[in-house]
């Protein structure tokens, strides 16, 4: 059998996540949001977490629920403010959660760099803006770039569509979003999927995230 564990329970899937961990959380809004794993993380009790995700929670479920119970020390995201981000907004205004705003492409590329063993990269996004203040600049072939460093996770929680027992994943439509990138960027990658199948049932040509990047899979109905 492969190294990927197929978990029987959500508690088993999130076991061992320590206090103070940096947790990459997939999803764009609620599409691809691993809500079952987040609920299990709330049960599990890890606290003082740094959360890396595109948004800072929507409504009262998923990431918003984790924030609401006070487990998050810092959020690194591109777009915290939304019509339904009231849980984050309240905590932020009360000074109870730190925020690092990162341009969305940098968020993705910094995690991609972490997963690919890249030490840092020069990027044109944000040159001349407040988000480049204090960062190293370099002109390459006449164009200005900002030095950006990887974002590495202790854990990634992602949502996918189908997983096989070899750990391979496929996604569904725009719910793919950050999943494949986050899967590469964390020491421990945990995926919730709507169905687990036997090896061979996913055409190898169609695998999006190969099993080497996936440590645990939880089937949710």
């Amino acid at each position: 059998m492969t190294r990927t564990a197929i978990c029987d329970t959500a508690a088993e899937a999130v076991a061992g996540i320590p206090d103070g961990a940096t947790v990459l959380v997939g999803g764009f809004g609620m599409a691809g949001m691993p809500t079952t794993l987040i609920d299990a993380l709330i049960e599990q009790g890890a606290t003082e977490l740094t959360i890396v995700s595109n948004n800072a929670g929507n409504g009262d479920t998923g990431l918003a629920a984790l924030l609401a119970v006070g487990r998050v020390r810092k959020v690194i995201c591109s777009f915290p403010r939304q019509s339904d981000s009231y849980v984050f907004d309240g905590l932020y205004r009360d000074g109870k959660v730190a925020l690092e705003v990162v341009p969305q492409g940098n968020l993705a590329e910094r995690m991609r760099a972490a997963g690919a063993g890249i030490g840092a990269f020069f990027c044109p996004t944000g040159v001349g803006t407040p988000l480049a203040e204090g960062k190293e600049l370099r002109t390459i072939d006449g164009r200005d770039y900002v030095l950006e460093f990887p974002i590495r996770g202790d854990v990634a929680l992602i949502g996918a569509h189908i997983g096989d027992r070899a750990g391979n994943l496929v996604y569904r439509k725009t719910a793919r979003n950050f999943g494949p990138v986050m899967a590469t960027a964390a020491a421990l990658t945990i995926a919730e999927v709507s169905r687990v199948v036997d090896p061979g049932e996913i055409d190898p040509e169609n695998v999006v995230t190969p099993g080497i990047f996936v440590d645990r899979i939880l089937e949710v109905s």
């Binding site: 403010r81 991609r112 944000g126 040159v127 803006t129 988000l131 439509k173 793919r176």
Partner: protein, 224 residues
Amino acid sequence: MTTTERPQCVEHVDREPRDRDELAAAIAHDIPAGSYVNLGIGQPTLVADHLRPESGVVLHTENGMLGMGRAASPAEVDPDLINAGKVPVTETLGASYFHHADSFAMMRGGHLDVCVLGAFQVSERGDLANWHTGAPDAIPAVGGAMDLAIGAKRVFVMMNLFAKDGAAKLVPECTYPLTGLRCVRRVYTDYATFDVDPESGVRVCETFGISVAELASRMSIELR
């Protein structure tokens, strides 16, 4: 050696300023056939309603899709199929899905032909401010705005020319926090369309419900 004749400015004085749909139609008309295009959240999404299917324009949404279709009807809503504004949408034939690093490589790598963005301010050199008012109590949120601003081959801005206090939003220098430097090439507004060049400044292409002279009197930049 040939010289290029500069197109004349066309004044449409005897009419109202353009409404949002007219503005969206004008932008759609100016997007070359076959372009890969990203439409920003808010007003720019209206441009999609005016693109003719036979134009072959392919819409990109930065959450990971090319070939985005119209908004979903209630019966078509799929929570896994949304646009960057988190609105349920549909797919067109030939659509594709990809992860975020690929999606932003399409922008940052210069593969997108056009993006249309809203703006708080644009400077006469093409600097863009559209992500943050700078208000001390505002929660900053940038999303993909900075990546789009520097990544697309051509950045169009769609906005009202004047703010609620009457101040023009095409300005000598942006006072709001910047999104990108010298990135905007064209500004479509209710009262006029402008070409913006980082070297030579702002040229009026067309006016609606206002003369060039009056326009110039209400703006604090030099108009060519």
